[in-house]
Subunit: 154 residues, 4 copies
């Protein structure tokens, strides 16, 4: 039975977020990665889902959230965030301060777009090397039939 309507339309459903997260974690297990934390944000950059695997160290939720939030803040994926951090460290340090640290400029933050390019939210993963984190985020997003924008040209 669905809950009563509230009028808040989040862009990405919890059902989709679950598929994304489960596929991302399955990818991590298939690759034998370190314990992962996956965060899915909606169009308002609010968390829809957080899952933190057993054995993860303490700040993984904040780091994964920061990867995803940074993408929402500037409008491009984590690889472009990393490039800008290298070129414009003063700007990216200020951005980090502006949003309470929630703009972590490394791969593993990935925008979720629909077929028209509309941003539905973002996925952030932390736990293994950033490149591996990103592989899992992309696998998750593709499992639900949406487009993963990592910040690199397609």
């Amino acid at each position: 039975m669905p809950h009563p309507p509230t009028g808040f339309a989040p862009g990405l459903s919890l059902a989709s977020a679950r598929v994304i997260a489960d596929a991302a974690l399955a990818k991590g297990r298939a690759l034998n990665l370190a314990p992962l934390t996956v965060v899915v944000l909606d169009q308002a950059a609010q968390p829809k889902l957080v899952l933190r695997e057993d054995g993860a160290s303490l700040m993984r939720v904040e780091i994964a959230t920061g990867k995803a939030f940074g993408c929402m803040a500037l409008g491009f994926g984590g690889r472009e965030m990393a490039r800008r951090s290298a070129k414009m460290p003063g700007f990216m340090n200020a951005l980090s301060d502006l949003c309470g640290g929630r703009a972590v400029p490394v791969p593993g933050g990935v925008l979720v777009r629909d077929e028209q390019g509309v941003v539905l939210g973002a996925v952030g993963i932390s736990g293994d090397a950033s490149d591996q984190d990103e592989v899992c985020a992309v696998a998750g997003i593709e499992a639900v039939g949406l487009a993963a924008d990592t910040g690199d040209p397609q």
Copy 2:
């Protein structure tokens, strides 16, 4: 395939957190409650799991986290937090400031204990009336065979 061991022992497994959350949300749907957000914290008060149902307003993750974190902060359930807030508002306001608001003193924050009484973590739920939120948290904790400490005498 399990990930490599890291030495971080969380107290509450992600598998258990999933059972708790799914049972809590099922209870909310059975009662036709407003959209719920459920947060499960481990022994270190770090999130293991967050699920936010479609239609929830914006700060529900923070509120649910605050209910659960407050329980971990002082070591008793949300009903005792509410009583202390009524009796000692100055102290509870200071506690709220100390932890950045993450000590929300209302029902719906519930400690998770094992059969020896060891605190394994806490569950926080927000979205409907506090009493209803608590009913769902208790249903979730009991679904995994652990003891729910709401802050009222057993």
Copy 3:
């Protein structure tokens, strides 16, 4: 000429926000109110528009933003926020801390809904008495043909 597409869909257009704000300020002038500050937030609770009239004191933008953000945080208008603040001061103090003060529980924060009840954003006004601030917010929202949810039953 429109700008290139980015994929970010905010719910409430800047054009609509301008109509809302201009009508709200016109109402304030017609009523000879103190200088007003009007804030319009979109579906992600991000500012679309802020206008602060000459002579306004210093924190009016933050107060008006807090009125509007509080509505988005809990999902109801400022009058219900005020009622809950009276009944549950500990909870509302904690909410204020949780969101850095951006949950000001008084009239003058009004949800903007479309004809289906979907929340498109919120308007916050500060400068005169809260009831007068609210009158102007409602006038603004109605000028653009949307529904104003003040937190009182319709």
Copy 4:
């Protein structure tokens, strides 16, 4: 009908801020830039006006505010802020922390001076490349007949 006098003298009128912002956004559309956010601060570094174009990503108001606030904080334009960030990163990072991130040291923050050189406020724009953001800020300030101080020698 004007509102009653309050004694707060803002330096830059809301009417002037509107002319600045509308001219800045018109320039951005003429150049086919990405969606822009424009912020106009008064002599007390309080916002007079914020306009955020449709499609802008989430943190653009904070970034534009930070460009303008940084200019007010140290008393020179964004290009000098950028030079100091390169030469004195430790100082500029500390400044950023001091003001909660509101000192974003890049072009696009521009001081507004009258014919005697008195600082009336500052304009910050974010959304496209920093150089382009600055072009629009200058166009806005000149549209109201005031002097734009970008931080470069005139």
